[in-house]
């Protein structure tokens, strides 16, 4: 019996018991749909996150306190002096600008309105390092920094929240932790970013933050942003920075108490995280596919029992083991393949709806249904049908014709 006939017979058999077939297929539909949707959401999340990280700037390095991989007994904080040392033209020729920052979430009020943005204490170089521009006013100057001026720059989210408008704000006074600050500039919107919204921020002079808003030990800083002269010099700059800080902190080799991160490192980390997330989600979805497969096995076993006489007859008419095996395997694969095809559609739909909901709630997020996911789901669902069909089909094929014919 050739495969074409086997498929036609399987189709006849599947369609002769429509309710049962569709319920069986439903298990696979849900399984495949869940796998497709989860992979799409995972891929979409990955693209969104890596995309937003890529917006940070390709020539930017971050220096943090502490070590991500080693357990250290003593961690020296990063200080202003560390930041200044990185400007050494001889020890760090690849470094362009250095911007130490302090940051914290503080309460900001204006009139009756209040909000909790991220407050940055920055120096004048932060503007160039992070590529900020001003929609009005001026960025924080060195003079303001030296004089610990009570001035503040605000992001558009904060402007919206406190004033309900984005212009004509220079000269207004807002309170940060109860202390008055005069607005000297409004930042141009940067959109959503990897560190929360980059618009829900305010910036004050570094020295002001240090003296009045964020108490830190001595001259310690939270993060040092370093811009590198050329993107090609990233690795070199990273090495130079590490060398300087190692000398200053007198750390032993392999026990750095600081971490130098680039955009690529962030992307790699984010990819690892979203990758794990995708596998995790896909794995859970895969379990439902497994359950669907067991449903197929169950129905095929019932079908084999029901059709014992038919199997006996077919054998009496000359069907070999192989013929019966193919007949039932074709039927189970067909069931799961049908389920797989419908499931791909369902998964696509779910991914689309998730994307729409995300966009509606303000997160630019585009789930990606890849060709690889479709092929994977088709192959996998058919394989599930084959695998879970093997046992019932074998049982059918091994029936003895005499006993099968006698079966009532």
């Amino acid at each position: 019996m050739n495969l074409g006939q086997a498929i036609i017979e399987a189709l006849e058999s599947v369609s002769s018991n429509k309710l049962r077939s569709s319920l069986t297929i439903l298990g696979i539909v849900i399984g495949v749909g869940a796998v497709i949707a989860m992979l799409a959401v995972g891929n979409g999340a990955q693209e969104t996150i890596t995309g937003s990280i890529s917006g940070i700037g390709s020539n930017l390095l971050f220096v943090f306190r502490g070590n991500q991989t080693e357990e250290l007994s003593h961690v020296e904080p990063l200080t202003l002096q560390d930041a200044n040392a990185l400007l050494d033209q001889f020890q760090a020729p690849s470094v362009d600008k250095v911007a130490p920052i302090l940051s914290d979430n503080l309460q900001v009020t204006y009139g009756g309105e209040k909000t909790n943005p991220t407050v940055y204490g920055v120096t004048s170089s932060y503007k160039d390092v992070r590529n900020y521009s001003m929609s009005e006013g001026e960025f924080i100057t060195d003079e303001q920094n030296l004089g610990r001026a009570s001035v503040v720059l605000i992001g558009v989210d904060v402007a919206d929240k406190l004033f309900g408008r984005r212009d004509g704000l220079v000269g207004e006074t807002i309170r940060v932790e109860g202390q008055p600050f005069r607005i000297t500039g409004v930042l141009v919107s940067k959109g959503g970013g990897s560190f929360g919204s980059e618009d829900n921020v305010i910036m004050v002079p570094f020295s002001t933050a240090q003296a009045r808003l964020m108490r830190r030990n001595r001259d310690s800083v939270d993060t040092i942003f370093v811009s590198v002269l050329e993107p090609e010099l990233m690795k070199q700059a990273s090495d130079e920075i590490s060398q300087i800080l190692r000398e200053r902190h007198r750390t032993s080799i392999g026990a750095d108490d600081f971490t130098v991160f680039s955009q690529d490192d962030f992307v790699a980390t984010a990819k690892t995280i979203t990758g794990v997330l995708t596998i995790f989600l896909g794995g859970i979805a895969g379990i439902s596919l497994l359950v669907g497969g067991i449903g197929i096995m169950n129905i095929m076993l019932v079908s084999v029992t029901e059709r014992t006489r038919e199997i006996g007859l077919r054998k009496a008419l000359g069907a070999r083991k192989k013929d019966i095996l193919i007949q039932f395997l074709t039927e189970s694969s067909l069931l799961s393949l049908l389920g797989g095809i419908i499931g791909i559609g369902l998964g696509w739909l779910i991914a689309f709806i998730v994307g729409r909901i995300a966009v509606a709630s303000g997160t630019p997020f585009n789930p990606v249904v890849g060709v690889d996911a479709i092929i994977l789901a088709t192959v996998f669902s058919t394989a599930v049908g084959l695998f879970f069909g093997i046992y019932p089909a074998n049982r059918a094929a091994n029936l003895q014709p005499v006993e099968a014919l006698r079966y009532e």
Binding site: Q5, L313, K315, A316, G318, R320, K321, Q400, L405
Partner: protein, 227 residues
């Protein structure tokens, strides 16, 4: 030398039920000539079903030899037996055993599906249905046919591969006496026209008296093999 389509020698079938051995067939020997019409009779438990299963190549004998159409079949494996059944044996069952969802034509085509490449499959199936008088019922399903008509479809199916022997197991058992009579007539006519050896398993003397020879089984042995 006579032309024997079947030659059976000391054929035995022993079933083991737990510790007990049941000698369902206890060494039977006989021959059947090509074109003969034979009936196998015996009370229940006499081994006539076992003998039919062995002659129809549905089961393996425990011991003894069975030559069907010049081929020793007692030592063949399951798949080889399936091939023999497909080519050399036609079955007619008491309960017809048609595929309920398939048309008469598709039912008759079924043995050819398992025979490999058969040209003009559809044409041969329709001819077979015509020869049993069902030319106008080709596209009907079993549920749309009377018992007698269903049995005719089964006979067409049994003959479509031109078998050497036709095994009929109580072919009229589920039919009223009129259709039963018609079916017997049809079987005997086909035997005359096509020369296919006909073996009928029955307990009905009115059937067996229409055959040329009766093999009577008692306790797994042949009691009488008279003409």
């Amino acid at each position: 030398m006579t032309d024997n389509v079947i030659h059976v020698n000391e054929l035995r079938k022993i079933y083991k039920i737990g510790e007990i051995e049941v000698h369902a067939l206890d060494g039977v020997s006989f021959s059947i000539e090509r074109g003969e019409v034979i009936s196998i009779m015996g009370p229940s438990g006499s081994g006539k079903s076992t003998l039919m299963n062995l002659l129809g190549c549905l089961d393996h004998p425990t011991d003894g030899s069975y030559i069907l159409d010049d081929e020793e079949v007692s030592e063949l494996d399951d798949d080889q037996l399936a091939g023999i059944r497909n080519r050399k044996v036609g079955f007619v069952f008491q309960s017809f055993n048609l595929l309920p969802r398939a048309t008469a034509l598709a039912n008759v085509e079924l043995p050819m599906r398992y025979a490999g490449q058969v040209p003009d499959r559809r044409k041969r199936a329709s001819e077979a249905l015509e020869s049993v008088g069902l030319a106008d019922r080709v596209h009907h399903r079993p549920t749309e046919l009377s018992g007698g008509q269903q049995q005719r479809v089964a006979i067409a199916r049994a003959l479509v591969n031109n078998p050497s022997i036709l095994m009929a197991d109580e072919p009229t058992g589920n039919l009223d006496s009129k259709s039963g009579k018609e079916i017997m007539e049809l079987l005997l006519n086909l035997n005359k026209e096509m020369g296919t050896t006909l073996i009928i398993v029955t307990h009905d003397p009115r059937i067996s008296e229409q055959t040329q020879r009766i093999i009577r089984l008692v306790d797994g042995k042949i009691a009488e093999a008279a003409a």
